[in-house]
Amino acid sequence: MTAVPLQSSAAPAGLNVEALETARRVERNWMIAICSPSLILVGIIIFVPVGWLFWLSLFDAEGALTTANYMRLLQQPSYLKTLIMTFKVSFIVTIVCLLLGYPLAYLLSQLPRRAAGILMISVILPFWTSVLVRTYAWLVILQRRGLVNDWFMSLGIIDEPLQLAHNFTGVIVGMSHVMLPFLVLPLYASMKAIDRDYLRASLNLGANPVRTFWQVFFPLSLPGLSAGLVLTFVLCLGFFVTPALMGGGNVFMWSMRIEQTSRLYSNWGAASAMGVVLLALTLGILWAFYKLLGARNPLAKGLR
């Protein structure tokens, strides 16, 4: 080989380069091939319909291209109210899960594996139980003639039944119950990954257990915690079953509105627009968090 043209590809000259490259490609294609049924299904069931929804939101009832569906969201104040209520509920549920879930995840992560595995069932069982069943259970427990009220009344603590279901409180209780495993499980995993030697070193260097927790353990648990909180919050935003059943008409969340708009009013344009907004919010929050985590990456990488 004498003169090599300047525009030749950057393939290095060497033995068997083409054959090796082909082999690599063949392997790669096989790997993609066995993923492809899953990918195709995801494409059909999710990407196509959601794309279609987005498309639908751009047309009005007569089929003309319009931004009216989105304009309506901005103009009618009831939409804003629903959005605020959705954020309010999501925020409070996330906080409740944080307060209840962090100590639980912490305790489980400090126990020997066997004990933790057994106690973990209390977190996994709800996870594997239908949302409907759990919501129904809370309804039965919290309703006017339900467990809690019956007991309190028979113990003489109250005279009139408390309004615990079919209202804001009921929704918070129900949703917290559903969301708690979503926070505890990833948080537990990340806490378990914190090397016990960091804690020992901190104790050895003179920090008592309380200080060791706040100065060493807690900062190291923050990445897992923030991921869990974001996940919980985002799941709350789009949550449907529990608020629909326990809201009693007082709590109206975005997802309920989507369902109502499509079922009762068959207003697909409006429903799709709301769906797109929900999706945008969900992805936006996740993306913002991902970016934030990227800035803190040295911390994430430093964790052994």
Partner: protein
Amino acid sequence: MSDGLEIPIPHRSRLWLYLLCGTVMVLLVAPSLIIIPMSFSDSEFLEFPPPAWSLRWYQRFLESVEWRDAAVVSLKAAIATMCLATPLGTAAAYALHAGQFRAANLVQTILAVPLIIPVILIGIGDFFLYAWLGMNNTIFGLVLAHTVLAIPLVSLTVASGLKSYDMNQEMVARSLGASRLKAFLVITVPQIRFSIVSGALFAFITSFDEAVIALFISGGENSTLTRRMFNALRDQVDPTIAAISTFLVCLSILMLLMAQLFGSRRGR
């Protein structure tokens, strides 16, 4: 060194932690479990403790054609979902773990999408799609949608099983003359079978319990149990649902026990 509470903090000073966590754990489990005895209550309001025991709600469930049919539909869909999602999810987990290709990250992201997109959007979207394809109110459509929800869960479960598995064994098998597929089926699968079974059970229960998508795309004769339950609950609190819930809770406990028995992380 044992990984237990070797850091010597006396139990006394942590009592509040134990109490709080104990309460939370009870609150997590109690609602599902308390339904069970309440479903045997004779009264319309499901008192606890029940004034009288009776099987009337179970009778109502078994006597009602709609509820029975719904249960059968849910069962069929769940089994089909399990059979479809398990091989697909396992294949995806294997490709992502063992294959070295640049698109792996992208594939992983795409497969995680079903977990991130709000389920209600999938429900409405699929309703449209199926309306156009004429697949609404069919078990086939339901199974496809549930499979998509289950695949990432199966994939995650199997992936964690693969992580604690020594892939070199497969390479050894291949060096001894087995094709890649054969090595996978004969050497790898038996050793990660517990993760695969866990994933399958996960797929089953995900489909059986699924409420939102079923609300939109299953209907009429092919309504699922969860769809009927939701509609019944929206109208009024029908105590028959207590019986159905008991059945569902017991099913969950059974699935969970089976999965624990095959312990994904017990490393057996």
